[in-house]
Symmetry: C3
Subunit: 210 residues, 3 copies
């Protein structure tokens, strides 16, 4: 099935970005595996914890682990082609974001959660892994700073809920939602768009709970 | 019911501190939402994972999500009043700490855990969210450093267990425990008290597992 | 039973390393308790979340909490003996790594997961706590950087799976696996071995998802 294929493609691409961050931060090969792993399945794992879907989705299906191993190995061995394959990776990553968002929303809806929670679960599935990866790599998660990344997933998620309320067939809604996320993300990269950064008032430097 | 109202108040105030930290760290609006969210419900979420209370408490009750959205919006729009409202926030935050501690202990006891674990769950519910917020914001959690924050929750938790053993009515114990945490926390702020920081011996700079 | 004793020994030693890191980072006593706690039971807790083994193993058995308290107190009061006891701690820590790896694999196998997942759960149980400790202490986890630590657990885990396939008695396999991890870890410390750090190509400084 197409969705299964796209799921594994997204897993592999997310794993590749994890391995790349590990190499850039000069971690070792175990660090690359861990970062690849959390980027690829971290979001879905927390989603499953939260929904109570136990055991977590990759525990019995070793194809996820296999893809992550393979992708990490390919990424590390193919370091000399990183510059040339950058565009392919960005596009595949945007595709992975769209597919993961749809998978997250649909799993949440199968568990009977309210629409708002389902959108959240979609965003978590799509953007949660990269967030954990950045924390492990010792930097403030990119997704919290200025990128239009999670924002694309949120927009796609809201689109999904509205489309579904209208009564359109589930498979059409899923494809449309993934396309919305994919296109918004590519548009953001192409136009170099980002959310404005917040600023705090000058005088109140002293945080509330410090 | 009073406890429900205080629970939502605490959720809103914790969310506000998350949004404030996000603005001070120059994150974007999605970062503010994420930090508000983890501060408000992060501790309770890990408590629910640990106890096996699935799905997690906010999954089916969207009032938490709604409060967090509202609080984040108000906090970011009202940036110019941060200095004037600082005292209100500190007091409300102390109240939230007390209420969350009681909620955590009582939920843990309903799951039949030993008293020591219940106290831990209370502290986790009250102080865990701020800890996750600080990690996401890229700083060593305030609560681990020098504040009398978790300490107030621990004292309140032990007080709860002792009171309950004596045989006092549950509702009285709950209110008394929240008051103990609240007063200790306010006292610590007012007197500028903090726990002493630990020091390591000079010679042994080399950590065990490095 | 021997395994229970070794489990509690490992818990105590891991807690001691957590308390030491806390003192070196100048956290307060609550920070030392939290770091001791996550180092000792953090890996097993995430393993239990993932397998869906709820509630988590230490919730009903307070001996873990008791050992962690005791070990933290001893570690902080005995700061002047840290240099003299360093060798004992390193050896005990290696023993703890071996024991935790075996416990993790066996628990995963009892839940009927595939061998690869079981190895992962063993590594997570052994090395996951130290990883969380380092994140809370605000540094890139040692285990991701260059140490032969998780690598020893991986080797031991693969050894376990192979031995079990051959049909050797479970108790023999368990002891042999713990010995493999223990010896590899000690060898790595003694010979000062570490995994090579990864490097990224010069030109492509711009990460994919930034």
């Amino acid at each position: 099935m197409l969705l299964n294929f796209l799921d594994l493609l997204g897993t592999g691409v997310f794993a590749a970005t994890g391995a790349m961050v590990a190499a850039r931060r000069n971690l070792d090969i175990f660090g690359a595996l861990v970062l690849a792993f959390v980027t690829a399945v971290g979001g879905g794992t927390i989603r499953d914890f939260t929904l109570g879907s136990m055991p977590v989705f990759w525990v019995h299906d070793t194809s996820y682990l296999a893809i992550i191993f393979l992708s990490t190995a390919l990424t590390l061995f193919g370091r000399r082609w990183w510059d040339q394959t950058r565009a392919i990776l960005l596009v595949s990553d945007a595709l992975g974001l769209g597919v993961f968002t749809v998978i997250g929303i649909e799993k949440a809806l199968r568990f009977g959660v309210p629409p708002m929670t389902a959108v959240m679960m979609g965003v978590l599935t799509g953007a949660g892994g990269g967030l954990i990866r950045d924390i492990l790599a010792g930097r403030v998660p990119m997704v919290l700073r200025s990128e239009i990344y999670a924002t694309a997933a949120i927009a796609g998620g809201l689109f999904y809920i509205v489309m579904q309320d209208v009564g359109i067939a589930r498979s059409v809604v899923a494809i449309a939602c993934a396309c919305v996320v994919f296109c918004l993300r590519l548009l953001a990269i192409y136009c170099n768009m980002s959310l404005p950064r917040l600023t705090a008032p000058k005088q109140s430097r002293k945080p509330v709970r410090e």
